[in-house]
């Protein structure tokens, strides 16, 4: 991941969604997922509605649905609980493909998978349209304490330092005949992680001192991002509004 620039899930673009301020998108995404979670699990059609809603956002953001689907497959949390629920859930049970499944357990599994997947898709949409730098600015505007932001800024910077040092250590090893498979032995991995920490720390400290040498005082020079206007809030909050309508209808019909 490039410090402050982008991250692996970011999809370069200049659509309406990309241009919305990060704090607006965070709030909209959070409220939308909250509606999804609040929807009764038996309201099957409502979940289809959420999917359509997200698909509309992808169209606006020019995110190919295939891209979304691939990421969702990798990122989706196939929580062990969800896989086991149909077998371990309470009676009554029903037969399906030769398996005896719990009715409540299967509904529970559907609940987790549907809501979990919609949650992942929403987060992915946010991630795909928001570079790291904007995210930090968004958090700052959401009144996150300055100390937390300083740590977060440094963390993003140091993520590169750690990746760089890890790359150097790997290079150093394999060039002199080390067989990387051995790395997967617990002890060696653990020792490697320990020295990676020290190396990264010391490099990070030098980089930090170099920043101080060039007059850094703890905050990045302001980039002069434009302030958020009310119309942007209105555009973004349309999403959770529709979601809320779906959730309320779901609650009333089941």
């Amino acid at each position: 991941m490039g410090a402050g620039h982008s991250h692996p899930l970011y999809l370069e673009g200049s659509s309406v969604v990309h241009r919305l301020p990060a704090e607006v998108k965070i709030v909209a995404a959070f409220l939308t997922v909250l509606c999804v979670v609040a929807t009764p699990r038996e309201a099957f059609w409502a979940f289809g509605g959420y999917l359509l809603l997200l698909a509309a956002v992808w169209a606006a953001a020019r995110i190919p649905p295939g891209w979304m689907a691939r990421r969702a497959l990798i990122e989706a949390p196939f929580v062990v609980l969800a896989v086991l629920l149909p077998f371990t859930g309470p009676d009554p049970r029903f037969e399906w493909a030769g398996l005896s499944l719990s009715h409540a357990g299967t509904l529970g599994a559907w609940n987790i998978l549907a809501k979990g997947t919609l949650g992942v898709l929403t987060s992915l949409t946010l991630a795909a349209t928001t570079p790291m730098r904007d995210l930090l600015l968004g958090l700052q505007r959401l009144r996150v304490p300055a100390l937390v932001l300083t740590i977060a800024t440094l963390m993003l910077r140091y993520a590169d330092v750690i990746a760089g040092e890890a790359r150097r250590m790997r290079l150093a090893r394999i060039a002199r005949g080390h067989d990387p498979r051995f790395l997967w032995q617990a002890g060696a991995t653990a020792r490697g992680i320990g020295s990676l920490f020290i190396r990264s720390y010391e490099r990070g400290e030098r980089v930090h001192l170099a920043m101080l040498s060039r007059g850094w005082t703890g905050t990045m020079p302001t980039t002069g991002a434009p302030a958020t206007v009310r119309s942007q809030w209105l555009v973004a909050l349309a999403l959770p509004l529709v979601a809320a309508a779906l959730a309320v209808t779901g609650m009333m019909t089941t």
């Binding site: 410090a3 760089g164 980089v207």
Partner: protein
């Protein structure tokens, strides 16, 4: 090269005050290695001085004291009359620009341009002047065409050049360079020499390239074992075979002191 178009911050130094005054400086690393023993060094405004000496002599350690990155265990450093201590650090760092021995310690922004702009932006330069300074610094090291690349994805010599540009753009009164010519190709090395000769700034340069020291610095200081063992006109020092040999210095193959 002057990294900005107008000479906005000329040294304006009082000639009676040394540009850099190191007094009885001692330093030991936390693991116990004593790297400096009572170093005394006075550099006048506008002087260009080469810092020579074998590997492990203490050159880098000395350099890192000059803007308070390392704090002395004894003695003190005074920059243009200002002791290098807590309340003055920000001002000292504005005055003293250091190019580190390892460019990877220096570069950290996502693009070359942002990295070069970082220093002057911190010191309050904004808008067009900032842009002009960044352009000029990148031009001076021949990296203008790479301005929008990530410093992580450059060759060794290209990273060295960007590291130089990040400090040139700050336009400090005192420029301290730790082996600036290593990894540079021969023409870049000469161009750097021309840039440095064109600057009207106090210059302290660590180097292992004795002809380069002769070319750029009228005065040289030799460090060995954490002490200053010689200080004088560069040409005279380079002609002193016994001294050179005693401190692992020698003129390179094929070089003749004209």
């Amino acid at each position: 090269m002057s990294a900005h178009t107008e000479p906005a911050s000329p040294p304006a130094a009082d000639p009676a005050v040394a540009s850099l005054d190191v007094r009885g400086l001692d330093f030991a690393y936390p693991d116990g290695t004593t790297a400096l023993h009572g170093v005394d060094l006075r550099i006048e405004p506008g002087e260009r001085v080469a810092l020579l000496g074998p590997n492990g002599a203490g050159k880098t350690t000395l350099v890192l004291q000059l803007n308070g990155i390392l704090a002395p265990t004894g003695g003190e450093v005074v920059v243009g009359g200002l002791p290098v201590r807590k309340p003055h650090l920000q001002e000292v760092r504005r005055r003293v620009g250091i190019v580190f021995q390892d460019p990877d310690d220096q570069l950290f922004m996502p693009t070359v341009r942002e990295d070069v702009a970082f220093g002057p932006a911190n010191f309050g330069v904004r808008g067009d002047e900032l842009t002009a300074r960044v352009e000029a610094a990148l031009e001076a090291v021949g990296m203008a065409e790479h301005a929008d690349r990530s410093p992580l994805h450059l060759s060794g010599g290209q990273r060295r050049r960007v590291a130089l540009a990040t400090v040139l753009s700050c336009d400090p009164e005192i420029l301290v360079l730790d082996e600036p010519s290593s990894n540079l190709d021969p023409v870049a090395r000469r161009e750097l020499a021309e840039v440095l000769l064109g600057l009207d700034r106090t210059l302290l340069m660590v180097t292992h390239d004795l002809p380069y020291a002769l070319q750029l610095c009228p005065r040289s200081v030799v460090v060995d074992g954490g002490r200053i063992v010689a200080d004088g006109p560069t040409r005279a020092l380079l002609a002193d075979d016994g001294m050179l040999r005693a401190h692992r210095l020698e003129l390179p193959f094929g070089f003749t002191l004209a």
